[in-house]
Symmetry: C2
């Protein structure tokens, strides 16, 4: 590779607070099952007080993807805003411990590091309530031009669109990328997030995105289609690669001339679906960084997703490089 990094992720830097929950609890507290809802500081306090004993781990969609990407052996960097507090220290530690370059300066004197309250129901579904905290201060100044120029790809999460400063940063990043032959990958993140920002997302996908990740609900929401086939038809010419993840049904990979179906990787014991989409993207992008076939990119995505849903928490607990060797016969670069 001629550039220093294979992939730079840009996203909301968040610490996850994970506790078991019941459907009754979700209902009593008006939490959308399986979704991600933005909450303010007061509701964060109320919900947290009502939740049971929790486990704290570093999260954030694009940050989770970078952790998976590094676990496969990819060289990665990350841009995102934490506060200068204990949770911010935990987030930074976990990025650095994973070998990911992370040097966005922490926010001083503003809101605390973002946290996501995640309730995992017995059916392994996760329902997320996110307090964005310091993330809201991530802006254009935090977009490191040299870093993006020195990356083969950047990966952005749709969640960034929930705050104006982050949206500007996002546009700046895609602009720098285009000037430096850095490919742009985007995940739509969440169907409600797509609903909130449909038109700008449509424009982005058409003009600036090379690789798009979405699940079925998100791709339908983007053009308000009823059927996945229609949505896929509408978007196909706009990006080089469109990947639609479909849970236990696996994924679809669409290029201008091919449609590839990839099965899900088998999971012995489904525990917590948090991070499944993030890890799929990690595997897929790692495959791309190695110039592997679309099929192998998809299989790496399925493998990483299977690992993360077999335990609590959004990041891999096993070396994905070892798993790729053992399960798929794909050895390290």
């Amino acid at each position: 590779m001629t550039k220093k990094y294979h992939l730079t992720g840009i996203g909301n830097a968040i610490v996850d607070v994970i506790a078991p929950g019941t459907d009754a609890f979700l209902e009593a507290h008006g939490i959308t099952k399986g979704g991600m809802t933005l909450i303010d500081e007061e509701r964060t306090r109320t919900l947290y007080n009502a939740m049971g004993k929790a486990t704290e781990v570093s999260g954030g969609s694009a940050a989770n993807t970078m952790a998976g990407f590094a676990s496969f052996g990819g060289k990665g960097a990350y841009l995102g805003k934490v506060a200068d507090d204990q949770l911010g220290g935990i987030f930074a530690h976990d990025m650095n411990a994973g070998g990911i370059h992370f040097s966005t300066p922490p926010l001083k004197g503003g809101p605390e590091t973002a946290r996501c309250l995640i309730l995992v129901t017995p059916d392994a579904q996760r329902s997320m309530s996110t307090y964005l905290g310091a993330c809201v201060e991530f802006g254009e100044d935090d977009v490191d031009d040299a870093l993006i120029a020195d990356s083969e790809m950047i990966y952005l999460e749709g969640y960034l669109f929930d705050k104006d400063a982050a949206k500007d940063a996002y546009l700046k990043a895609t602009h720098i990328a285009q000037k430096n032959e850095t490919k742009v990958a985007l995940t739509l993140s969440d169907s409600f997030c797509v609903e909130r920002h449909r038109v700008p997302f449509q424009r982005l996908v058409k003009d600036k995105v090379d690789i798009l990740f979405a699940n079925e609900a998100e791709i339908l929401a983007l053009y308000q289609h009823q059927r996945v086939e229609e949505a896929v038809g509408a978007i196909r010419g706009h990006c080089d690669i469109v990947v639609v993840t479909r849970g236990e049904k696996g994924s679809l990979i669409l290029t201008p001339d091919k449609m590839i179906t990839v099965p899900a990787h088998p999971v012995a014991h489904l525990v917590d679906t948090t991070g499944a989409g993030d890890q799929y993207a990690a595997g897929f992008l790692y495959g791309l960084s190695r110039n592997l076939s679309m099929e192998d990119c998809g299989r790496l995505g399925s493998l990483a997703a299977a690992e993360v849903i077999s335990h609590i928490g959004p990041r891999p607990e096993t070396s994905l490089a070892d798993l790729a060797q053992q399960e798929l016969g794909i050895s390290r670069a």
Copy 2:
């Protein structure tokens, strides 16, 4: 019960930072395998930087015991010092979420909330390096006279002896207990801790402790014996009940007129031994609070220990009340 609480725990209020580790890592960083070592702020930083991606969960020996005690259905309270920071908030949340009364005022403007860096090796052993932080400020003023008077038992961890202010608090607590017919239970915590404070521990055990918990290494260290039988003989007259935990060999319970052998509860998959002793004490003390037989107290201890070593983290993840019903046929009070 005529008192408000069955059990009040007093100990170091700590958040655990748990990461996988290897024997080579322990050796490279001079960490005593299986032990608990006190470390200063600088070494905490160095070690943390060297550790991999971690999970944060509330810990602290006596606090873990209280979490288990409450999970069985016992009414509990806790005294311990956190700082007024994010980790302190996490610790307090997890106590309250477990239904444990916890109202020690957090420390303002001093050291941060204590943390324990725990490396779990592939053999499931945990090796702990503890930064005591705000715990050092736990003192006599934090000992709530009314709370202790209103508890049937108090439970103290030997680790408290590592700081003078906490030792004074400890002695005050035992004094109040004796005046109010509150039984005093003590865990020796760690053989190195016993080495550090042998004479005061001997005096305490002789004069003030009704129920003593120790593992084999700790009971040997207390009177510098070579064989467990000798140590047990020496201590037997000093406390009403002496419990010696012996890992996979189960436990011994000694009263002035009986010696009872309790087997370990079977564990399908040993993952992380953190909290085994704490949870044994939780089950045993819960049995005592119900006036169950010594045999049943021991079986409840073994059950709780088996639960906690089957997953990462020092506190139960399953309702111990349900487990006691299902596995031992001991129903709720």
